[in-house]
Amino acid sequence: MRSMKVNKNMICIHSQLLVKGNLKALFVCTLLLLLSACNQNVFDSKKELLAHLQDSKNGYIYKKEINGLNYTLMYRPTDMLVQQEINDKTTQNELDSIRSKYGKYIYLNIALAKNGEEVLNSVINKKSDFGSMVNQLVFGMGQKVHLISQTRDTLELLDYIYPREYGMSKSTNMMFVYPRNEDLLKNEYFHFTIEDIGLSTGEIGFKISTRVIKKEPKLNL
């Protein structure tokens, strides 16, 4: 990770200057260090990147609670998907091509939970309701979620995935894929809405800032 390395170098120079007593250079160095720390968006590991994404101050995660149900929406940067496809033998050219392949889309992760459990395990009691909810989650979410631009244009959902976790997860997780539309990102924000899927929550809306998506964090791959 380039900016982290720069930071480490700066800290070394900083301590050397402090020893030498060069105050003017120390002052300039401190300013540069502060500036580089503010703009850090390249990470060495997936763990660091995830921690950055999960900090709500950075604007990649949105949380809501309606009638005891917790909705969490997280933007998934392109590099997190790229990392899943590469290995030690991947060349720079291949990496660039994988990055450009995944970079054409926007990935949004949704987690639905009640009392720290999956929706199917915590909310549904009747057998018939369980069946219809499985059907809803596996096949019907495309009709329930909408990505709407600031100017109220709706973007078509390309695909979504709902992996069954059979009660082993703390939430029902889904990933939605939309085209990385330039017109959408020109605006200040866009809306992501989820209609009521039979959980008495009404429609849930998230207002997502495009600023953070345009300068999305990367992995040092």
Binding site: L23, K24, F27, I66, Q150, D196, G202, E203, G205, K207
Partner: protein, 177 residues
Amino acid sequence: MKKLIIPIVSIITIVLISSFVANNSKNELVYVDVNKLIEGYNRTKVEKEAFTEKTNVLKANVDSLITNWQTELKVYEKERSSMGEKEIELRQELLANKQQQINNYQQAVQKQVQEEDQKMTQTLINDINDYVQEYGKKHGYPMIFGAGGNGNIMYAEEASDLTDEVLIGLNAQYEGE
């Protein structure tokens, strides 16, 4: 060293002033009238129309089933004198079963209408809550009260009422302006 003191002091002063401005939230006590917001929100009209359309279809289905049953009842009453005892018994049983089925359907429809109504109201409340939160953060209010006419705010001067301003912003967001 002396040359450095002035720039350092000026930078510290700028940082302090900017942090003071950034953290300076308004200490005003303000409120919004939630009922007025729901009534005045443009989405309410759209959602209510869709709801009415949906419930009208459901009610029309129930009405036509009841009308059919009443017609069958009239026919039975007309033909009853010419029927044998067993046939009367059978027809009565058939009519009673049908009536029970219609009642069950009517109850299911009522439940569905209630659920749709709840969904609609919750959707509007979600929208309003989100916008009021965003408005409060943007304008630096530490708290925005919600007056609902149930006595939680007994008196507030007009200047504390943000309803109109919030409503304008809420509708502008809904219309994509």
